[in-house]
């Protein structure tokens, strides 16, 4: 796949916009249902964090909160900011630092999908305890993919172009 620079820029804008639109449903719609001895519990991303916090597992809760709520939001806003300032000479150094940082920590957002894949394996154990994926997880992973590809498609040198 070869794109010209203008095509790439349009694609990046589209990806960020899509990510921003999908961010809302990905946080509202449950990502999984946990059934523990007949007690059915749909959980959103935030619900999973809150539940862990209540059972006193705050280090894990903090990691999941940062990785799956704060990081995707930061990635979207920073890429949005970079796109808004595209072609301007303002904050060039800060923009390139932010871009590099986001690429480094950005993949941590996948932690929630991996977590889901591991605990969904319990779904095979029958009625006593089961975990099922819900549509929210699809939205969630779509946001992640939009984020990852928007950062990969935006060239570092574009920040310095005026």
């Amino acid at each position: 796949m070869k794109f010209s620079d203008t095509q790439r820029l349009v694609l990046v804008k589209a990806l960020v916009l899509t990510g921003g639109i999908l961010y809302l449903p990905s946080n509202i719609i449950p990502v999984m249902t946990m059934t523990v001895s007949g007690d059915v519990q749909p959980l959103t991303v935030m619900g999973g964090v809150r539940e862990m916090l209540q059972s006193g597992l705050w280090p894990v809760a903090v990691i999941i909160f940062l990785a799956s709520i704060v990081v995707p939001f930061l990635k979207l806003t920073i890429m949005g900011g970079i796109l808004c300032l595209h072609g301007k000479s303002l904050w060039q150094r800060e923009r390139s630092i932010a871009r590099r940082m986001m690429i480094k920590i950005g993949s941590w957002a996948m932690i929630d999908i991996f977590l889901l894949s591991i605990i969904a394996a319990v779904g095979q154990l029958g009625i006593l305890a089961s975990v099922h994926a819900e549509p929210g997880s699809l939205f969630f992973s779509a946001v992640l993919l939009c984020n990852i590809f928007s950062y990969e498609l935006y060239k570092a040198e574009w920040i310095w172009k005026e």
Binding site: M34, V36, G48, M52, S55, L57, V60, I63, I64, Q92, R93, S96, I97, R100, I103, G106, S107, W108, M110, I111, D112, I113, F114, L115, L116, S117, I118, I119, A120, A121, V122, G123, Q124, L125, G126, L128, A129, V131, H132, A133, S137, L138, S141, L145, I148, Y151, E152, A156, I159, W160
Partner: protein, 187 residues
């Protein structure tokens, strides 16, 4: 020339351009990646954890989660997890191994440039460290549902995560390009 411990940093944007690196560190890196390939194989073959709910036991491999997502009808998710936790890391480490092997033996193996571009593209898709942390968080979460026990596979994943972090930290792309350029000129 850079001295040991020195690095070249762009004064305008703050990006690290070049690190000190010599042929010996290239060989050490190659050994590290060889170890990582073995760890990767072991991590995929041994169970990560054994889960027990009132007598029903189940041992989980990395692929178990992918399969259960697939059976629940979430095949896009299953595909995503399969790619980012199994397929892409495997391709990444194989390409990395091939590239380092060619450069540290100073042999012009065919397709070194291809291997370099694979490493470039997949470097942000090496999600093994993320997966390692996710397995730990999963154990904590599953503990609420039933009894859960670590297995040897978890250790392999953790070791693999550490090795891949070290390897990517010391990998110097520019040096690879230099070495390949020298090899090309010699012929």
């Amino acid at each position: 020339m850079l001295q040991p411990g020195e690095e070249l940093i762009c004064s305008r944007c703050g990006k690290r351009l070049k690190k000190y690196c010599d042929m010996r560190s290239l060989q050490a890196l190659w050994a590290l990646i060889t170890a990582a390939l073995i760890f990767l194989l072991m991590a995929n073959m041994t169970p990560i954890m054994v889960f027990d709910v009132s007598g029903n036991t189940q041992s989980n491999h990395i692929i178990t989660g992918v399969m259960s997502l697939f059976y629940q009808g979430y095949w896009p998710l299953a595909f995503l997890v399969f790619c980012s936790a199994i397929a892409l890391p495997t391709i990444y480490f194989l390409a990395f191994w091939y590239l380092l092997g060619g450069c540290s033996l100073k042999k012009r193996w065919p397709g070194l440039l291809l291997a370099l571009s694979i490493v470039d593209i997949l470097s942000s898709w090496n999600l093994i460290p993320v997966f390692a942390v996710a397995t730990m968080a999963a154990v904590v979460k599953l503990d609420q549902l039933g009894s859960i026990e670590w297995k040897i596979g978890e250790l392999w994943i953790a070791v693999l995560a550490v090795t891949s972090l070290i390897a990517t930290h010391f990998f110097d792309r520019r040096m690879m390009v230099d070495v390949m350029e020298k090899l090309r000129r010699r012929q």
